[in-house]
Symmetry: C2
């Protein structure tokens, strides 16, 4: 469950992130992942200076999250991001939520991110060379990508 070398994002669990069930509210896993993506953008060179000078940024297209274990207010929480795949303008990102109390991930998510030029109307844009080079270096091997999970799928009730 390697992050492929990308530094983990350490989330700070705020008291109001805990719901009436006494555990981390589902949406705040998403917020931790969103902040982890901000950190990843800095790491990839898609930082505030880049966004300001190019008017380019990342938009989230789609996200799938599996909630695997309860996280409590007293827990630490790290989000490990990994580059599952990418093309000229999209990144397929994996997120693994890790809590030191647990022997396995607390949650897992994957998402699709799109590189966009924010003009009068947002338009897709190709990554610059320096970002593509970083993505190539960080992209997981096929085996590591296969091992990432649980990954997205069609959600449905299967009758036994």
């Amino acid at each position: 469950m390697s992050g492929g070398g990308i530094p983990a994002y350490r989330a700070k669990i705020e008291p109001d992130w805990i719901d009436y069930n006494g555990h981390l509210r589902d949406a705040y896993y998403g917020l931790a992942a969103s902040y982890a993506v901000d950190d990843l953008m800095d790491y990839l060179g898609l930082d505030a200076a880049y966004r300001k000078s190019t008017h380019c940024t990342l938009y989230s297209l789609e996200m799938h999250i599996h909630f695997l274990h309860e996280v409590k207010e007293s827990d630490d929480l790290k989000v490990m991001t990994s580059i599952l795949d990418f093309d000229r303008k999209r990144i397929h990102l994996g997120c693994t939520f890790v809590c030191s109390r647990l022997g396995e991930p607390a949650a897992a998510a994957d998402m699709m991110l799109l590189h966009v030029h924010q003009g009068e109307k947002p338009a897709t844009a190709a990554f610059p060379e320096h970002v593509t080079a970083k993505l190539s270096a960080l992209k997981l091997s096929s085996a590591a990508r296969e091992a990432f999970g649980p990954s997205s799928r069609k959600i449905e009730l299967q009758r036994r």
Copy 2:
């Protein structure tokens, strides 16, 4: 895109829900959906009094969200929930995010919710009869369920 009769949840977009891209941060669609599920629980009779007397509640197992259009701070935002399917202890829920400025949904999500008894260790529990009856009355027709979308799927980059 009917909610099958369930009242819509009206989200309040807070200023800090807007990110450096000038639009609603991805995770806050999830928070609006989470609050919509709270409202739905009240509507189904899984409210605070029920939770207190039975120690039963809903846990989120899985969620898939498609971000379809940008939502701005000046927008209104409603979340329409619909019962796509259910069984003895699970609900497959659809969420459609509606903004009056847009002619089509701003986002769509589907999620799996599990009815859990919170004892020393959480354990799955069957819904009581009054909840099953409500779910039966609210469940979308097959045609309406087929029309719900975009629904969850495997996220991947497809090469052309």
